[in-house]
């Protein structure tokens, strides 16, 4: 899940960030700017917030670029009881749940609770969204 991820270590919680899956939805920045601030270096500062607040914020990350490891005995990320697929207008499929992605050979490439899947065909990180739909002016209704 956290392959190729960079770890920002905190006293009570470590934050793992997989840059290739980040599509800059900025849910983290909006929810908890003290910790997630893309104008600061490093942009993640886990000791500026509580582990509970950081975990709750990361649950909102729609791409699955952010994950965490609790060091304080707090709960791990819950697997949603229901699987949902949200069709984003002119954008990706946001999948949430107990999600396994496998390739055509049957090999597992990801197991996660949050994934953004490319639906414009232009991503350089298929099957994951990398925001190429913006540059390619992908148009598709959300239904």
């Amino acid at each position: 899940m956290a392959t190729r991820a960079r770890t920002y270590a905190g006293e009570h919680i470590d934050v793992n960030y997989e840059v290739r899956r980040c599509i800059h939805a900025e849910e983290c920045v909006r929810h908890l700017r003290e910790v997630f601030d893309n104008k600061k270096t490093p942009w993640v500062q886990p000791d500026n917030g509580t582990a509970d607040a950081i975990a709750d914020t990361i649950h909102h990350c729609p791409s699955g670029a952010l994950h965490y490891v609790r060091k304080d005995g707090g709960a791990t990320e819950p697997i949603p009881a229901h699987n949902t697929i949200q069709v984003d207008e002119d954008g990706p499929l946001y999948v949430r749940g107990n999600v396994t992605v496998i390739n055509g050979k049957g090999d597992e490439i990801l197991h996660d609770t949050r994934v953004a899947l490319c639906r414009c065909g232009e991503s350089n990180n298929k099957p994951f969204c990398d925001n190429s739909h913006i540059e390619s002016h992908f148009e598709a209704s959300a239904r």
């Binding site: 229901h82 949902t84 749940g97 107990n98 899947l117 639906r119 739909h133 239904r143």
Partner: protein, 61 residues
């Protein structure tokens, strides 16, 4: 992203498998609910094929 708001009883109880076929669509298996942009439940399915080339005339399928 908000939780689904409609009266549909959401199905869960089981994992979702997304098969990414070479040069092919996403085959999605497992109980799931499709949400619109606003986060409202639109319909439920157990198996569906989603376009990933961007050229379907019946997007998102």
């Amino acid at each position: 992203m908000k939780e689904p708001q409609t009266g549909l009883t959401l199905k869960g109880e089981g994992g979702l498998t997304i098969i990414v076929g070479t040069n092919d669509s996403y085959e999605i298996k497992g109980p799931f609910t499709i949400l619109n942009d606003a986060g409202d439940a639109v319909f439920q399915a157990e198996e569906e094929w989603f376009c990933r080339c961007g050229h379907s005339s019946n997007k998102p399928f």
